[in-house]
């Protein structure tokens, strides 16, 4: 007689190993302890659970990575998800985390070689998932900055909201995302995309080289003066302050900055 532990280990291994079908070939040790009364044989009954397992997890990944799914097509997506689940079964009680290794996994898969940008596209989609339910924050208001005196500006430290990420790619990944599964003539191009949440809505936008430098300095906790100095490496020094001013206005409008409550 199987112990409860052995039964559970056999059951989960078997439903995860096969998506079922007439010749699923479930382990005899498991099939022998399943009742076969009624209209269904033991293997058919186990198969219902196998199909539910794979269908449910496939749907979660299709929801989290809709662009990746559209680019590779239905059959290839199912195949790659099956391989992913075999390598990275869910280890968290919440399905929210199921796709956390998906982008890295795609980078290792030979069958997606025709789509060399796919792993980066997955990273963008995953960043959007993570930003969706990242911690809330009080957005920084323009009035707060307008109230600062001139001598307070050099030491000012700006703080990005928790629901903010930057995705770096060798591909124009935001254009591929926008193409919704039919990217046109993709060519390599170093790209940074900022991903954030404003209210409940998730957005992303390409950050140019200037904005990348400024964001990196802000994320490093640098003072406003140091951020401007960093900008002077990519724009004429005399324009750094006004460029930074423009960036600041855009970031506040987008809701990228938070009040510093600490």
């Amino acid at each position: 007689m199987l112990s409860l532990r052995e039964l559970q280990a056999d059951f989960l291994r078997e439903i995860a190993r096969t998506s079922g079908g007439e010749n699923a070939g479930f382990a005899p040790r498991l099939a022998q302890v399943v009742e076969g009364r009624g209209k269904l044989e033991p293997e058919q009954r186990i198969n219902i659970y196998a199909q539910m397992y794979h269908t449910r997890l496939l749907e979660v990944l299709r929801e989290d990575f809709p662009r990746v799914a559209a680019v590779v097509g239905c059959e290839r997506f199912i195949a790659v998800v099956r391989a992913y689940l075999a390598r990275h079964p869910s280890t968290h009680p919440s399905l929210r985390h199921l796709g956390r290794h998906f982008a890295a996994f795609l980078a290792t898969r030979p069958e997606i070689a025709p789509f060399p940008f796919l792993s980066d596209l997955a990273r963008l989609e995953w960043a959007r998932v993570e930003v969706f339910d990242a911690p809330d924050a009080e957005p920084l208001r323009l009035a707060h900055l307008q109230a600062l005196s001139a001598d307070e500006w050099p030491d000012l430290r700006l703080h990005l909201i928790p629901a903010f990420q930057v995705v770096h790619s060798n591909w124009p990944v935001q254009e591929i995302w926008a193409a919704e599964g039919t990217p046109d003539g993709t060519r390599r191009e170093n790209t940074a995309v900022r991903v954030w949440r404003d209210g409940f809505a998730v957005y992303h936008a390409r950050a140019d080289a200037t904005e990348q430098v400024a964001l990196a300095a802000v994320r490093a906790g640098e003072s406003f003066a140091t951020v401007c100095a960093a900008l002077a490496s990519v724009v004429p020094a005399e324009e750094a302050a006004s460029v930074m001013g423009s960036l600041l206005l855009r970031w506040i409008e987008d809701g990228l900055l938070r009040e510093n409550k600490t």
Binding site: L2, L4, G38, L40, Y49, P93, L95, F132, A163
Partner: protein
Amino acid sequence: MAFSVPYLGHGVGLRTQHFPRLWQGTARVDWFEAIAENFMVRGGRPLAALEKARETAPLVLHGVSLSLGSTDPLNLTYLDDLNALIRRCEPAWVSDHLCWGSVGGHYAHDLLPLPYTEEALVHVSERVRAVQEYLGRQILIENVSSYLTFSHSTVPEWEFLAAIAERADCGILLDVNNVYVSAANHGFAAEHYITGVPAGRVGQIHLAGHADMGTYLFDTHDGPVAAPVWDLYRLAVRRCGRVSTLVEWDDKIPEFDILRAEAERAGEIAAAELELPCAKSA
């Protein structure tokens, strides 16, 4: 040992599709049931919706990943997250399922059936007791729909459920649709199940739709409650009295008003069985 929870009336599941109604102030219903795992997040729209729902009506938390029957150690990180959510939204009660969903740290995200043996009885009652001690509150455990049974089970499911509830001193969330589905799939009389659970421990009833797949019934939660399930609900109400009832509708989710009408129908049926004046949802 005793169990009691407040009577909340006839509620619906809190679903993403109906979040806008919360902000419009038109999601009026007796109470909401929220799937706990959907709100174990750090911010954003889900938590804001939970707060709104809490302002609108009483709230209950319903877990799907506690994995009470698993032979893995209890996931204390999960329990801590659940505790944090309980503190945040102060639910009227917390429930999960009489099943297992993980082993070896691997989660199936499904409600998998247990063998109804003495080994499982001892194991699950101890787990329910440990969870209740950790959370500092009694929980309700729900019967799941199933598509297979194990040949080494020694008692029917309703006896197993009753024994767990007594040994662990917990409540029962009686899912009438699950009883109907499992009865059809395994060839037992659904009425035996309803009359076999201890009425005094039934703190909540679930209703839902299912699908006939030809050779078995499938618990789809994607349509209205079927006529024979309403009949079974009548029996459950006659036996258990006034019990908070919730309509689950998780797929092909209809407009909020259709869902609320289904909950109101449950209220009307219960009132008729108990010969009470019919109280419509607010």
